[in-house]
């Protein structure tokens, strides 16, 4: 496949690698975590070599994701500061979802929805990491009251996070021409002009 040299670079290779590490570890965490969430998901332990292996592996994958996420947070945090235009975008997100994006305000590299996702996931990862350490009985011993609270937080935030990540993934599938940004880093100029016009102007100078 020959790529158009005029395509715009949206993500560098290290940025993509970082995102994939977070993505893969999140999927593994969600599958192994759900196994303990409700008996209906218990068969998922088979993917990890049984219940005991799932219990052993889950927290280590969690550490990997936490570290990779911090790196991603530092890379993208400046680009995700909320601007007035983002609030405007968010207040009209309904139009966007209903399939009519003609009147949406012009967006930079990230739109209001993406920025909200960024901050929500950052808070979720923080809470999951702290509550996860509290639950990690193989290496830590916290008081029962704290472990009970940790378990509720871990389960509730975990379910919430799986929900919003599904929205995150679906948004990438729905908006055609997006997945390639994650896979090999480039997007077409038309894509950029349609979805992130301010960013398009900035990188093309038009």
């Amino acid at each position: 496949m020959i790529r158009n040299p005029k395509d715009l670079q949206r993500y560098t290779a290290p940025e993509r690698t970082n995102h994939w590490v977070v993505g893969i570890s999140f999927i593994l965490l969600a599958l192994s975590g759900l196994a303990f969430f409700h008996p209906a998901f218990w068969p998922l332990t088979m993917l990890f070599g049984g219940g005991v292996w799932t219990r052993i592996l889950h927290p280590f994958i969690g550490v990997l994701m936490a570290v990779a996420f911090v790196s991603m947070f530092l890379r993208f945090r400046a680009l995700n500061v909320m601007q007035p235009a983002d609030k405007e975008w968010l207040s009209r997100a309904k139009e966007m979802v209903s399939g009519n994006d003609h009147n949406m305000p012009e967006q930079g590299k990230y739109n209001g929805g993406q920025k909200m996702m960024f901050w929500m996931l950052s808070i979720c990862v923080l809470l999951m990491t702290i509550s996860g350490v509290v639950l990690w009985r193989a290496y830590f011993g916290f008081p029962a009251e704290l472990v009970r609270l940790g378990a509720v937080i871990h389960a509730a935030i975990g379910a919430f996070m799986i929900g919003i990540v599904m929205v995150h993934v679906y948004a990438a599938i729905w908006v055609r021409g997006t997945i390639r940004a994650m896979v090999y880093g480039t997007v077409t100029r038309a894509w950029a002009k349609q979805h992130h016009r301010a960013w398009y102007r900035q990188v093309t100078g038009k």
Binding site: W42, G51, V147, A156, A190, Q194
Partner: protein
């Protein structure tokens, strides 16, 4: 090991009925604190019958030895020196699993069949199914289960489910020299406790009573206490124990609801795609860019 496989009332992390075709009588162990002499024969019998030897510990300055329950010590005597109306009372309590009718450990356990409740009321850990997550520990209102450092499995008193299954009393009861430990049907034990309580009351223990806490649905290990109004005197035996509301929330209705919500988000996305179609780049923009390139 599931010696009794036909009379399982409840099984951890299982949403369908357990094999429960055989119904057995509810049993109970009664611990009469007022006739216990603290000889620890029960502790010795427990380790002998179960054939487990804990590491020899060190003296901590009190009779309690080992100082706490461990994966290898499923019952320990706790000695409390209490002053009541100017007199010293030595309140000795045999601590161990209470075999709750509504067991928090079983509720919290995520591994199918790792915790079993028989129809006779015994709550048993089946270690071959235990994954070592330790969820049973904070869920227990009595702080009983212990995870072994050696194999990462949870252990606790089984009320000698293997002995009871073949009509024997638990090893600790068999060994008790004073009759402070009694075993039988829960009804019999309550009747026996009534006699003991009557005797204690006649000797001036006005508040003598039975410890069978209803917050956990009653227990299959019960105490006769001289001061039933203040169980905390007995080395912090909990007053009105119950499963923490956090555990109930964690393991209750919230999870099926959250599972359905997650499924709804996944299906909602699919149907959004099916009804709205993909969000493609508009043809106008594509043409515009193509025109620019042609210049």
């Amino acid at each position: 090991m599931a010696l009794q496989s036909l009379d399982i009332a409840r099984r951890s992390a299982t949403t369908t009925p357990a094999p429960s075709i055989r119904e057995t009588t509810a049993v109970a162990k009664l611990i009469d604190v007022s006739t216990c002499i603290g000889c620890k024969a029960c502790q010795a019998a427990c380790m002998e019958w179960n054939d487990i030897r804990d590491e020899v510990g060190t003296c901590t300055g009190v009779y309690d030895n080992p100082i706490d329950l461990t994966a290898k010590s499923w019952t320990v005597m706790r000695y409390a020196e209490v002053e009541e109306q100017g007199k010293l009372e030595w309140l000795i309590r045999k601590d161990g699993c209470m075999h709750c009718a509504d067991p928090g450990c079983l509720k919290a356990c995520p591994s199918p069949g790792a915790i079993i409740q028989y129809s006779n009321g015994i709550v048993d850990f089946h270690q071959e199914n235990c994954i070592g997550c330790g969820y049973c520990i904070p869920a227990c209102p009595f702080n009983v289960p212990r995870i072994s450092k050696a194999d990462n499995k949870a252990y606790k008193c089984s009320l000698c489910s293997d002995r009871v299954a073949v009509g024997q009393a638990p090893a600790c009861v068999k060994a008790c020299p004073t009759g402070a430990l009694q075993f039988g049907s829960k009804e019999q034990m309550k009747d026996y406790a009534d006699k003991r309580i009557g005797d204690l009351k006649s000797r001036g223990f006005e508040q003598a009573g039975l410890y069978d806490p209803q917050g956990v649905g009653g227990t299959h290990v019960m105490y006769v206490l001289q001061h039933a109004d203040r169980p905390e005197l007995y080395s912090k035996l909990p007053n009105n124990p119950s499963i923490s509301p956090l555990v109930a929330l964690w393991k209750g209705f919230a999870k099926p609801l959250a599972s359905l919500t997650m499924a709804a988000v996944a299906l909602g996305s699919l149907f959004h795609f099916v009804s709205k179609g993909p969000n493609e780049v508009s043809q106008e923009l594509e043409d515009e860019i193509a025109k620019e390139d042609a210049k």
